[in-house]
Amino acid sequence: MIPELGNLALVLALCLAVLQATLPLAGSLNGNGRWLALARTAAVGQAVFVTLAFAILVHAFAVNDFSVAYVAANSNTALPLVYRITATWGGHEGSLLLWVQTLALWTVAVVAFSGQLPRATSARVLAVMGLVAIGFLAFTLFTSNPFDRSLPAPPDGRDLNPLLQDVGMIVHPPLLYMGYVGFSVAFAFAIAALIGGELDAAWARWARPWTLVAWTFLTLGIFLGSFWAYYELGWGGWWFWDAVENASFMPWLVGAALIHSLAVTEKRGAFRNWTVLLAILAFSLSLLGTFLVRSGVLTSVHAFASDPRRGLFILVFLAIVIGGSLALFAWRAPAVGLGGRFALFSRESLLLVNNVLLLVAAATVLLGTLYPLFLDAVGGGKISVGPPYFEAVFVPLMVPVLLLAAVGPFVAWKSGSARDVALRLRPAALFAAVSGAAAFLVAHLSPAVAVGLLLGAWTLGATLQLVVRHLRHAPRGTPLVARASRQGAAWWGMVVAHAGVGIFVVGVTLVKGTETADDVSLRVGGSARAGDYTFTFEALEKVRASNYVGARATFAVAHDGAPVATLHPEKRYYTVQQMPTTEAAIDRGFARDLYVALGEATRDGTWTVRIQHKPFMGWIWAGCLVIAAGGLLAAVDRRYRARRVGVSDAVRAAPEIAIQVPTTSRSA
């Protein structure tokens, strides 16, 4: 009986979403105040019913209600409770409901924090989010209902895919969805602006924190997915340029461009159309990702069991949402106007260049992801584009992005002096050159690694210089805290995120350039080397858990004879799904990761073992976390929490800039 209530809750949510999407929008056009006021009520009501439906599905998993087909397909009585709960989003239907649930959370957040917005604007924003909710609720109800029964109920379920029985499953999908779906807020703001024709600094100020929070979630979601793959898939890889990874990476790149573009729109009133377009694209790419995962047009480790009917549904939905908003853009953008002018060498133009580069990077990823599909569609046969394409195309695009990202904050708005900036950045340039040269000449690393280190050092050096310059540039005797707080959290967020990028680049460069891996055949007592480390296979024991059996090995790792770590990799065989998994064992350190994964065993007790030494692997993760911290810091800037600001044209917001950018003084 309870699952039927879930079904009913979804139907009611859909009805409320229709209300939320239509009347407030009409009210914002004809000035009907009652219709406008409906937006908030309908949105909250919709969210309540979606949450109820979600809770009912979680409950069905918790109590092992296998009469619900989705539960039977993704759970099992032997599955521990925590994984039974996370199994809620372990399959297509439930993860779709998670998508809808996430949208409901964002909708409620908009209701709660949109008090300072003009009523017509907030009504339009909520109406657009309601439109998106209609699409996804209808998709859930008509093609992928998680509450469908299969009677008589099977005695036990088919279990959750063993790869998903991991802590990563608890946090990775919700965070990623918070990011994906979060872009719907920026999207709704953009559409509302296009409808209303008001796109000014105040608009950018409202849209910024939402975009930053969504982007931060997306950063964390991607990071966790990568972190999870690193230890769970058993290969020690952390990024595979897999279609679905790309589907999350493209909105991330466009989101990064959008954050920067919004900053310009807020401060200078420039890039208005560009900002709106990026907001549309970021969310469109999120939707495209959803399509790619669920339609079965591409293969991936993430792909859900597919069904052409579902694919067609999302395709039509994509056509309406993306096509409709791009058509609206084509129609209304000319009225929005371009905004402030700026010189060839100015912060605006550097940001524009980086924006374009990020967008081109996203486009190359899109091309690589869809190329197999294009080729197949025109009858060219099935091929797969792997890391070689992406590394050859994507990495060179990041070189100018990194070079410019470090320079940007030093350049004045509107018009800057190239000579001044070049002179000022001498210390960072020197640091970068020395780092690169030392890597090449002293450490004898490859030229590519040297270039990577040079770029990382450049980014870190310039960012550090920015901080030092800012802290020094104050009257004598000013306390440090006061010096620091002369810039808002948004500025510090930028600094932190840029530093994170630098750390990430150093990590990626060193891991890619200096890691060592070896597949060896070992029996108990044998040993092998990776880097300067000796791995000794000391023992092997059987393990048995409620839903798997397996072998657990003990490896002792020594460096120059001194013991460093003891590792316990496992090979498991999940009995219900009849699937083997590899649980790698990793000893993480500041400057290196040691990695052991068990392959196959032969009858005489010899195992294939993959051992790896990955220098500076932790820097990749640290870089991601620091970038996310920067995003969060920028989002909590006090400026965004200010009460309703009457400023409606960009020029009046400009005085702030004079304080934010200590012009071209050479005191630093």
Partner: protein, 175 residues
Amino acid sequence: MKRYAIPFGIFAILLVFLGIGLRLKPQEVPSPFIGKPAPAFTLTRLEQADKTFSPQELRGKVWLLNVWASWCTSCRAEHPALVAFAKQVTVPIVGLNYMDAREDGSRWLDKLGNPYALSVFDSDGKVGTDYGVYGVPETFVIDRRGNIRLKLTGPVTPEIIKNTLLPLIRELDHA
């Protein structure tokens, strides 16, 4: 006005391709090897140590490569399905006897039936590594041009044979 319509135009084209993509057959299992040429090798045959085999010999034919070993319990579970399957189809199934002992492998086939056109002997697992084997049994479907079209991890079941392997083989055979 015109330049603002460019994003819309690009999206319209993309939409057409996505629509076509929906009607194409999705590939079965994620593997970096899908669509790539099957790695070349030359190995001795399991039961005739003086003869060799390499995938080159099956160019122009659709065939299956099944990775198995006598020590592998899941292979034992999959074996009856494979024997029945071999009787249904004309495409050759090549066994890759993985990290096994020659006598053990031969004895296993004598006892349980031999579904393979031939088996090759990969004593040190090098070829298995080339194929990205990470759990025995695994099954690869290779097309006439020598490209891997499908990779199955874990035991082949009658359902997989009926719903996946047979339709794919039929499709590749007529391609």
